[in-house]
């Protein structure tokens, strides 16, 4: 019995993993757009562009005009309210990003009659617990622009609204904004999962595949060793090469640490071979005590929180 539960559980996990995978995840997210857009030229252009894009979208009458939000298909099903071949509908869960578009004239009018301050609270009221973005066309720089800029900043600070200024042509820029947000929202669960494993790290553990070493039948260990050494910030290319010249594999260095009672000192005194040949005014020609100690700590500490 528990075996079956196990299997279902594993299958659910696999399904979930598939849904959040970058690329695939775009299929499971759709944009919801207010019907108000149909009535304005920017909106009509936007819808035309949307149709020729790969984005999934729906038009609905929303409580705030000209706003946009997102929904995700989480793989659950609900009893169909309308007609449906299976009697079931896909469940779409609302995401927590909301974008509201306002026109330039609306903005200037609201700035004049002090109603800008209402924008944030209204959004919070109708879409609670979300992050809000105001999208508006780029403000032209004229004699009133500093007050406009100040008004925007106040909106950002006091109302915690994000502001996106759209260039020309506006409909294309708005589409680009929607596309970017859709992708970011779609990939968010995947990134969150990754960040959970990283949460304990203070420093972000960069994972660039370009520099990785492929080890094939024992070839590549040399380069891997060099890259291991390079993980310490103080180890430059020359320093790494000098260490490798003396200790061409980890085992040699580890043996050195365990056999030689003055291991740290010996390592500290190891000379750095400079590529450019002997030069006057050389300060650091040794590995040095600091780095030697760090290497010793790295390979001998049992407490993972020891600072290097």
């Amino acid at each position: 019995m528990s075996n079956k539960v196990d299997k279902l559980h594993k299958q659910a996990l696999r399904d979930q993993q598939k849904r959040i995978k970058p690329g695939e995840c775009m299929k499971y997210v759709r944009v919801v757009i207010d019907t108000g857009f149909l009535g304005i030229s920017v909106g009509q252009e936007l819808l035309q562009l949307l149709n020729s894009s790969t984005l999934k979208y729906e038009i609905r009458s929303l409580p705030v005009s000209h706003c946009i939000f997102w929904e995700r298909n989480v793989g659950q099903q609900v009893i169909a309210l309308g007609t449906s071949p299976t009697g079931l509908d896909e469940a779409w869960k609302k995401e927590d990003q909301v974008v509201q578009w306002i026109s330039e004239s609306t903005f200037h009018k609201a700035a004049k009659d002090q109603s800008l301050v209402c924008i944030g609270p209204r959004l919070q009221d109708l879409f609670p617990n979300c992050h809000y973005t105001i999208a508006l066309p780029k403000l032209r720089h004229n004699k009133n622009s500093s007050t406009s800029q100040d008004a925007l900043i106040e909106m950002q600070l006091l109302q915690e609204l994000h502001v996106e200024q759209l260039g020309q042509p506006e409909s294309q820029e708005l589409l680009a904004l929607i596309q970017r947000y859709t992708k970011a929202i779609a990939e968010a669960p995947y990134k969150k999962q990754r960040n959970e494993t990283l949460g304990c790290f203070k420093k972000y553990v960069a994972n660039d595949k370009k520099q990785c070493v492929r080890v094939d039948q024992g070839n590549g260990y040399g380069r891997l060793w060099q890259q291991h050494l390079n993980r310490l910030p103080q180890v430059t290319l020359e320093v790494a090469e000098s260490i490798i010249a003396q200790y061409p594999c980890p085992k040699k260095l580890l043996d050195h640490f365990s056999n030689d009672p003055a291991a740290i000192q010996t390592l500290a005194d190891l000379k750095i071979k400079r590529c450019n040949g002997p030069q006057p005014l050389h300060t650091e020609r040794r590995i040095g005590n600091v780095l030697s100690n760090k290497l010793h700590t790295l390979y001998n500490a049992r407490d993972p929180n020891t600072l290097i």
Binding site: L157, Y181, A184, E187, K203, Y204, D303, N305
Partner: protein, 425 residues
């Protein structure tokens, strides 16, 4: 703890000393010239700390000429015949034994003293200068600071390294723009971020407003994304304890020659916004960036000027709603120390980064290994504890990783084992 012992024989050469004394008395009685040399030799012998085993050995000492040494050897030969002295080898053995005895006695005495000390009440040590400094720092950290409205000013802090070309000219330009915009500011070394705001009171207390700005020109942004610094920086900014992280992103000409497609950069910014909660502000040039900061300074001064501010110690306590009239903020010093400390790496972090260098090791796999063996030494110890090489090679194979809990596999396990334990070169 090691102690150095200087062991000296009280009388290293009793026999030779007595003979010399005898000869010296003879020479003095007979008023012979040899008494002077004898006296010299005797002095030297008394000063010498090691046992000498023959007349010839004595030659190293002052006053011991060839004749005297021969006399000693002759005397020694007769002495041996008479007294059946054991050969010199054993004498040196005896010497060693005696030294060992002394060492043992000293060790016993040390133990006695240590025990006595434990029993006795320990006298409180006078605090060292370092102790005093640490206590002062701890007290400063814990002291609660309160700033009622009107008792402080809001000041913009500019990082001394705030440049996009790492040269002083850009910093000067920043400062002159800010001055021309009437924005009061101070240049300081910041361990995190390019711009910060503090509330400063006449007593010198400084509390940090929950806003941190990182200025990035588009070309900087591109290069930092390519070399991975972007994510690291974002991570550090988010962990600073300051709630509102703002990326001030400045155009670079017409944003054409950036090193990455403009689209990618804009996506990265959207991701920062949506996934990391970072505020992104776009500006056209350096001046407009400074204008934005000046404007923010004005607004912040207005908003915070009417609040009562107090210090908090924990990052978690420092969230503040602007609708509150009382706000808890971090001290500047605390932020500085904390983020400076965060720049250091731990053994675990370096180990993970090292593991990631192997192509077949993804982040999840590396994390699974580190969960089980948090440092290289832990892994190496585990290898050593394996009875058979086969066991060691398979040590990591069964460890589950990722949300689906798949096993790491033999290949990875063998690869790492070979890497760490064989002399491949």
């Amino acid at each position: 703890m090691e102690t150095r012992l200087a062991v000296r024989l009280k009388e290293p050469n009793p026999l030779f000393t007595r003979w010399l004394e005898r000869w010296l008395r003879e020479a003095e009685r007979r008023q012979q010239k040899s008494q002077f040399k004898l006296r010299q030799a005797l002095e030297a012998l008394k000063c010498y700390p090691l046992p000498l085993y023959s007349g010839r050995d004595c030659a190293i000492l002052r006053g011991f000429g060839g004749t005297l040494c021969q006399m000693i050897d002759e005397e020694l030969r007769q002495h041996r015949v008479v007294n059946l002295l054991p050969p010199t080898a054993t004498t040196s053995e005896q010497y060693e034994q005696q030294v060992q005895q002394v060492v043992r006695k000293v060790q016993e005495k040390q133990e006695e003293q240590a025990q006595k000390k434990k029993q006795r009440e320990k006298k409180p040590r006078k605090p060292t200068k370092k102790d005093l400094q640490e206590m002062a720092a701890a007290e400063e950290r814990e002291r609660r600071v309160e700033m009622p409205p009107g008792s402080f000013e809001i000041l913009l802090l500019v990082d001394i390294q705030e440049t996009s070309g790492k040269n002083k000219r850009v910093l000067d330009q920043t400062r002159s723009y800010l001055e021309s915009l009437g924005a009061q500011h101070e240049v300081r070394r910041l361990t995190i971020g390019d711009f910060l705001w503090i509330a400063k009171d006449p007593a010198g207390n400084e509390l940090v407003l929950p806003y941190i700005v990182e200025r990035k020109r588009m070309d900087d942004l591109a290069s930092s994304i390519r070399d991975g610094r972007f994510h690291e920086q974002k991570h550090r900014l988010k962990q600073s304890g300051l709630k509102h992280v703002i990326y001030l992103v400045e155009d670079y000409g017409d944003n054409e020659q950036l090193g990455l497609p403009l689209d990618s950069l804009q996506q990265a910014l959207a991701n920062a916004r949506v996934q990391n909660g970072v505020q992104v502000v776009r500006t056209e040039n350096h001046f407009r960036s400074m204008a934005y900061l000046a404007s923010m300074s004005r607004s912040l001064a207005q908003i915070f000027g009417q609040k009562t501010l107090h210090s908090v110690q924990d990052k978690a306590e420092s969230c503040c709603l602007l609708t509150d009239s009382k706000l808890g903020l971090l001290k500047f010093r605390a932020l500085y120390d904390d983020s400076a400390k965060n720049a250091q790496l731990t053994v675990r972090e370096v180990f993970v980064q090292q593991l990631l260098q192997l192509h077949s090791l993804s982040l999840e796999r590396a994390m699974a290994i580190v969960e089980r063996y948090p440092t290289p030494r832990c892994l190496l110890d585990a290898y050593e504890e394996c009875v058979e090489a086969k066991e060691a090679r398979q040590l990591l194979a069964r460890i589950p990783y990722g949300p689906l809990e798949r096993p790491l596999g033999e290949k990875v396990s063998q690869c790492l084992h070979e890497f760490y334990t064989t002399q491949f070169r």
